[in-house]
């Protein structure tokens, strides 16, 4: 008996003529996610993939596959030749593992893909169910809410399993182009990146670093967050932009109540430039309406006017607790709440403008005489870190 991982894909199975493109990208992403595991083989069969690898690696592989977008579900299946004796034997082994306590309810769910197999699906259900009931006296059939289901698929071989692990669904990353995620180190931006990556979009990260006003640890924190997001999105290039000089200039020359807003506009501008240079077609932010002064509708409009690229804000209408739920799910929350200063907290105005008008903001920005040079200098000195999944 051999153990394999059975992978079912969801939405991409519905694609038309370019289905193969989606499938190839998904296979590539699956291979990437299993990079650290040796001697694995991946095989395409009808509507599924099969992964063969060492039995001791199966658990780790499943954990990684649970994070790959485009996968609908995963099962660890036992494979045998499709004759009844073999099938019965494996069915017994799997059932024995599931039996606990005085009474366990179950059902058999057989599917005959290979029509040459001598029994139909209902016949096989009845035959195997009967055999198991005889073998295990504590077993009882419950076809509506069984404690476990024994799945049997008859294809070129027989596949037996008892568990279907849900995948992340979505689309394979890389099939939907690339977008630049503005990442601060807070709770919202990693969640926003994750949500867009779920639709097949490849991510690049842009982080603004105001050393020494923020510390090395604040940068490390962003790297750690991106590593967690990369477990879902695949490899990410993180662009760390030195932002101190621009921030100091804003603090020195612009009216205080607009300072956060102006800062965010320059972040958008720099991120857009980096995005275009690196083939990204949109920006992603973790903004959510009304969360802070710079996220009122008026402020968002002013910030938005700083870029020509589409800006995706997937958490825009979400409550904080709903965002935190996702952050917990993708394991970024604990890292996000580490207390290192991030670039937004240092120069926070006491009374920020919550209903800004673009014309006033532009007037304030015009006081920054050398801003174009400062922006290109920041871009020239940007550090690029390649982030691998962790």
């Amino acid at each position: 008996m051999e153990k394999i991982i059975l992978i079912r894909y969801g939405e991409i199975g519905l694609k038309g003529l370019n289905k193969h493109y989606f499938i190839d990208v998904l296979i590539r992403n699956i291979k990437d996610s299993l990079k650290s595991l040796k001697n694995k083989k991946i095989e395409k069969i009808q509507g599924r993939f099969i992964i063969r690898l060492a039995e001791e690696d199966i658990h780790r592989a499943c954990e990684a596959l649970k994070k790959v977008f485009g996968i609908a579900s995963i099962s660890v299946a036992s494979v045998v030749e499709k004759d009844l004796e073999n099938i019965k034997e494996v069915a017994e082994i799997l059932t024995e593992k599931e039996c606990r306590g005085d009474e366990t309810t179950f059902k058999v769910n057989a599917r005959r893909g290979d029509k040459n197999f001598p029994m139909t699906s209902p016949e096989l259900n009845g035959y195997l169910g009967g055999h198991l009931l005889k073998t295990f006296p504590n077993l009882k059939v419950d076809v509506h809410e069984p404690q476990f289901t024994l799945f049997v698929e008859i294809r070129e071989k027989a596949y037996l399993y008892t568990e279907i692990i849900p995948g992340k669904n979505g689309l394979p990353v890389g099939t939907g182009g690339k977008a630049a995620l503005l990442i601060s180190g807070g709770i919202d931006s990693p969640v926003a990146g994750y949500m867009i990556a779920q639709r097949g979009v490849e991510l690049m990260g842009v982080h603004f670093h105001s050393y020494p006003y923020t510390s090395e640890r604040a940068k490390d924190k962003v790297v750690k967050l991106m590593e967690k997001v990369a477990a879902y999105s695949g490899r990410i290039k993180l662009f760390v932009v030195p932002f101190t000089d621009i921030q100091l200039a804003i603090g020195e020359f612009c009216e205080e109540k607009y300072s956060t807003l102006i800062m965010r506009r320059y972040m958008m501008k720099i991120a857009s430039e980096l995005a275009v240079k690196n083939g990204a077609l949109a920006l992603i932010t973790g903004e959510s309406i009304g969360q802070v002064a710079s996220q009122t509708l008026e402020s968002l409009a002013v910030t938005n006017a700083a870029t020509d690229l589409p800006v995706f804000r997937p958490v825009i209408g979400m409550d904080k607790h709903a965002i935190i739920d996702i952050a917990n799910e993708i394991d970024t929350f604990e890292t996000s709440i580490l207390p290192y200063e991030d670039c937004c907290t240092i120069f926070v105005p006491k009374h920020p403008q919550t209903k800004p008008k673009l014309e006033y903001v532009l007037k304030e920005e015009s006081k920054l005489k050398d801003i174009d040079e400062m922006i290109s200098e920041a871009i020239d000195n940007t550090e690029i870190i390649t982030i691998y999944p962790k």
Binding site: Y211, P212, Y213, S215, E252, E256, P339, Y340, E341, I346
Partner: protein, 385 residues
């Protein structure tokens, strides 16, 4: 740019000679002191040599010294040991509000377990209130734990007077002191202070991390925290950290307390005179007095965030601390600085500079110059509010 390291109360560089010895013990003399063969015996000798040296420095018996993994373990095992041993004869334990977390948290734990815990206030110089201490010691008091030198401000407690008060008021009360900052830098007179227990650590004075120890007066027979193979006379099981212990012996042999103290005194004097003229609106929390350590200077600057200043100095390869290393990670104001009542608009701007035998006056010049420059940069933005 050469590095200026002014964070020696957090940790220190390890002496070169000690590193050589440690390497030797890792590579060649790696026997386990519990082994019966010659390699084991040699390792055991190295451990005993260090124990003897420490005992000699503290004028106590070798068998009253036990090795631990560091100051935190030492404080935990002594306080827990003392309470577990004596909780049947009394319910009250006393400490101060400015102790290291490895003392305070143990007291808080026992508070949650229903013990009567007194946290003594301190005055603006960080000294505990003797009158309050005297009032607090009653027939139920089983333990008083007061640190010798405070790690954030350098304030030195009068252990002699505290010891007298403790013993005068209650014979059964044990007196413990966390001497992690003072061991090897100041004279600790266990007898005249009436100390029953004290804690020390190796890495604060050019020894390796992961090594510390405790003194326990003979006959106390505290219950151990860690059980196992019965090492350290059964009080602290676990294979001895032989290489570190052997290296630490060398560190202790090399200490020249007189020359170190002279250096610290002149460094502190110079720093304080310089900083006052280079920066305005600065409070010195560690005045040059006999009851303050010479190797720690805490200053508080108005309208400055200590963390920003720290990173600005780090950019120039100057390493200092905000408050203490342990409280600075938690992003909240330090309990010690709050206890000595530093004004609100100064407390966030607190920096700690702490010296080692390697520091020079020239380094202070560079530090103060950078400090003045970066402070005025930061204040440009904070003053407008």
């Amino acid at each position: 740019m050469s590095r200026i390291y002014f964070d020696n109360s957090a940790t220190t560089c390890v002496d070169d000679e000690a590193i050589d010895i440690m390497t030797m013990y890792h590579k060649d003399l790696y026997g386990n002191p519990s082994s019966l063969h010659r390699m084991g015996v040699e390792a055991e000798k190295a451990v005993e040599e260090c124990r003897n040296k420490i005992a000699e420095m503290l004028s106590v018996k070798s068998k009253e010294i036990y090795f631990t993994s560091g100051g935190t373990e030492g404080n935990n095992m002594l306080i827990r040991g003392a309470v577990e041993k004596n909780k049947r004869i009394g319910n009250r334990i006393i400490t101060s509000k400015i102790e290291h977390p490895s003392v305070l948290e143990v007291f808080r734990y026992y508070e949650s377990q229903g013990l009567d815990v007194i946290y003594l206030d301190v005055d603006e110089y960080g000294k505990i209130d003797f009158k309050k201490l005297e009032e607090s010691i009653n027939g139920d008091t089983i333990l008083v734990s007061i640190m010798m030198i405070n790690n954030e401000t350098g304030a030195i407690q009068d252990l002699k007077r505290i010891g007298e008060l403790v013993k005068k008021n209650s014979k059964k009360t044990l007196f413990h002191s966390d001497c992690v900052q003072s061991f090897g830098k100041s004279v600790i007179d266990i007898n005249s202070c009436n100390l029953d227990m004290l804690t020390f650590s190796a890495h604060k004075l050019h020894g390796p991390k992961g090594l510390g120890g405790v003194y326990i007066r003979q006959g106390l027979n505290l219950p151990p925290l860690i059980l196992g193979g019965g090492q350290e006379s059964g009080f602290r099981s676990g294979t001895e950290n032989v290489a570190s212990i052997a290296g630490f012996t060398k560190v202790l042999q090399n200490i020249d307390m007189k020359s170190n103290t002279d250096r610290f005194v002149s460094l502190k004097k110079y720093f304080i005179s310089k900083v006052a003229s280079a920066v305005d609106e600065v409070i010195i929390n560690s005045p040059q007095r006999d009851d303050f350590a010479d190797f720690i200077i805490s200053i508080s600057l108005k309208n400055v965030k200590g963390e920003i200043l720290l990173h600005a100095l780090e950019k120039k390869e100057i390493y200092v601390s905000t408050g203490s290393a342990c409280s600075s990670k938690k992003n909240r104001t330090s309990h010690v600085l709050e206890a000595i009542n530093i004004p609100r608009d100064y407390i966030e701007g607190t920096l700690r500079v702490s010296f080692s035998k390697h520091n020079t006056l020239n380094e202070i010049d560079k530090c103060i110059e950078a400090l003045a420059e970066e402070t005025s940069k930061i204040r440009k933005f904070t003053r407008r509010k």
